[in-house]
């Protein structure tokens, strides 16, 4: 009986430790409401290597939806409510260039954290970043250069990185002073973890935000999980 009671107490204690260690999380699904434009296949024939490196021709990624209209590649991040100073992690964030597309298409990174851009295409690329706060850059990436590493010193709203050799290639990078961000999966779901109970303002950022509008929400995290969904719509035709 005593052993059983001890075991129960142990389980409760370990669960509590687990919750504190993992922190709470904000999760949700991002969907699109309305008729979406069709994403056309990319024209890769400017470079035969790009054609050869893709079994299926990839499509544009301006607005990627699944069958339930979940929106992929939305960067969700906390803009208010964090009271902790975070240090940047050791492990780098990686963007690969394979088949002349960037994978992943949208990433978050902490200021001071290393970004590795890989070239697994066996062709020439240039990496042209268009940040506004950090310094704009344009670096050559010949086929012999397999990795290009860089660090962004300051937090910054997501900006575009593109390849001018292959003008269809584009990726987006958000630089933060905290690790509390998440990019939606192909079904539109996201999860920001490691949060203490509190009130947070979060933003859902999409590369076509000018077309879809900016989305923010205030979330109160009481328990281990708070749910916050977003719905993007196309802007009205006429007022």
């Amino acid at each position: 009986m005593v052993v059983r009671k001890l075991m129960v107490q142990m389980i409760v204690f370990l669960s509590a430790v687990g919750i504190i260690y993992a922190g709470g999380s904000i999760t949700g699904t991002i969907t699109f409401d309305g008729k979406a434009p069709k994403m056309k296949p990319l024209k890769l024939d400017a470079d035969p290597i790009c054609v050869a490196n893709n079994e299926v021709v990839p499509k544009k990624e301006g607005l990627v939806l699944d069958e339930n209209k979940g929106v992929k590649n939305v960067l969700v991040f906390i803009i208010e409510g964090l009271n902790i100073d975070y240090s940047s992690p050791e492990e780098p964030v990686v963007i690969d260039q394979k088949g002349c597309v960037y994978s992943p298409h949208v990433v978050g990174i902490m200021a001071g954290q290393q970004l590795d851009i890989l070239n697994n295409d066996g062709t020439l690329h240039n990496i042209h970043g268009l940040p506004k706060v950090n310094k704009e850059f344009n670096k050559a990436m010949p086929r012999t250069k397999k990795t290009l590493s860089m660090v962004f010193g300051k937090p910054e709203a997501p900006f575009k990185v593109k390849c001018d050799v292959h003008p269809w290639m584009g990726a987006y990078i958000g630089v933060f002073d905290h690790p509390c961000y998440s990019v939606t999966a192909s079904d539109g779901t996201y999860e920001i973890t490691g949060l203490e109970p509190g009130t947070y303002v979060i933003e859902a950022w999409h590369e076509n935000r000018k077309k879809l509008g900016s989305q923010t929400a205030t979330v109160i995290l009481k328990d281990s999980v708070a749910i916050q969904d977003f719905t993007f719509k196309r802007l009205p035709k006429k007022e």
Partner: protein, 335 residues
């Protein structure tokens, strides 16, 4: 035809041919530059004056893929045009006796060198809009200078009657207007292209659904809705205005060319060359309006857009030649 004793000179036939080759090469260079912008690949070669570390003509042809084909190709053609200008300037200096032409030859050389440097600066400074627009304008200005040189060296001018039998005085004002308006139109066009305003109004012949756009929020919303459906970037009202100015410029140029053409078609004893040139100008204008429409309907298909740009340069060139032909010889070429 009476021989022109006013400007007795003997331009070398090869220098004359070289000057015409330079005019055509420059037009081709403008086309190559337009292809670079239309494909948005101006920074596909991140270094300058080298290309991925290679010297200009040592870059492997096998690596001229994607945007590099256009950007590095543009650089190579520009180098050839620069070389032709250098040879022409010194050839004129050594073979011609007209001081103004010698000066113009070296002015062209200075202009092409400055143009090359601006091209390099666009790469090194990551295409700031003012430098890109200046680069585009220098291209058109240099093209006009090459036409001036070619006409100055030409047989036509050498045999022109100093006091023209046909009085072209009434053509001068319309010819100035056409050339001036086309030049201004090309400035607006360059501004439109380098501020990403080419599809700021995505419908034609209407503008944001209106015949006379009101430039209010309702119009901008309609424009944005069209851009959403077409999957092209949203724009601001200032971009819409720049785009509409280019359309207005087109209308102004069309009216001016119509005025000039009407004047020439009315003349009974006009020079056959000027008559043919006017027909050419009208055809280029019609082609230009068609290309402008298809540039929008095709969502800036790069080849159509580039032909639109080079055809605009051709209109400028033909207008410039018209001005040179109707100017009194005495007035123009005093040393």
């Amino acid at each position: 035809m009476e021989e022109n004793n006013y400007h007795k000179r003997t331009s070398n036939i090869w220098v004359r041919r070289l000057s015409k080759l330079l005019v055509l090469s420059t037009l081709f260079l403008i086309f190559a530059g337009a292809l670079v912008k239309s494909h948005e690949v101006g920074l596909s070669v991140p270094d300058w004056p080298t290309s991925y570390g290679y010297q200009m003509f040592a870059f492997p042809l096998s690596d001229m893929i994607g945007g590099i084909f256009y950007e590095h190709g543009h650089r190579m053609i520009a180098a050839i045009v620069g070389l032709l200008t250098l040879i022409l300037a010194f050839s004129i200096y050594h073979t011609d006796d007209q001081l103004w032409l010698k000066k113009t030859g070296f002015f062209a050389l200075g202009l092409v060198i400055a143009q090359g440097l601006f091209g390099g600066l666009t790469v090194l400074f990551l295409q700031p809009t003012p430098i890109s627009v200046i680069h585009a304008l220098f291209a058109q200005t240099f093209f006009m200078v090459t036409i001036l040189i070619a006409y100055g060296l030409s047989d036509e001018r050498a045999h022109r009657i100093p006091y023209d039998k046909v009085d072209y005085a009434e053509l001068r004002i319309p010819a100035y207007w056409v050339t001036g308006l086309v030049y201004v139109q090309l400035i607006i066009g360059a501004l439109m292209r380098h501020t990403q305003s080419g599809l700021a109004i995505p419908d034609f012949p209407l503008a944001g659904g209106y015949l006379l756009p009101p430039f209010n929020q309702a119009m901008l919303n309609t424009v944005h809705a069209m851009q959403f459906d077409l999957d092209v970037p949203f724009v601001s009202m200032s971009q819409v205005v720049v785009h509409f100015l280019h359309r207005l410029g087109g209308v102004s140029v069309a009216i001016a060319i119509g005025w000039l053409s009407w004047k020439i078609y009315q003349m009974k004893d006009s020079d056959n060359r000027i008559y043919r040139q006017t027909v050419l100008l009208d055809m280029l204008l019609l082609l230009q309006i068609t290309l402008g429409a298809f540039t929008i309907w095709s969502l800036k298909e790069p080849l159509i857009t580039s032909i639109h740009v080079v055809n605009g340069a051709a209109i400028l060139g033909v207008s410039m030649l018209m001005v040179l032909r109707v100017l009194p010889l005495k007035l123009q070429w005093k040393n």
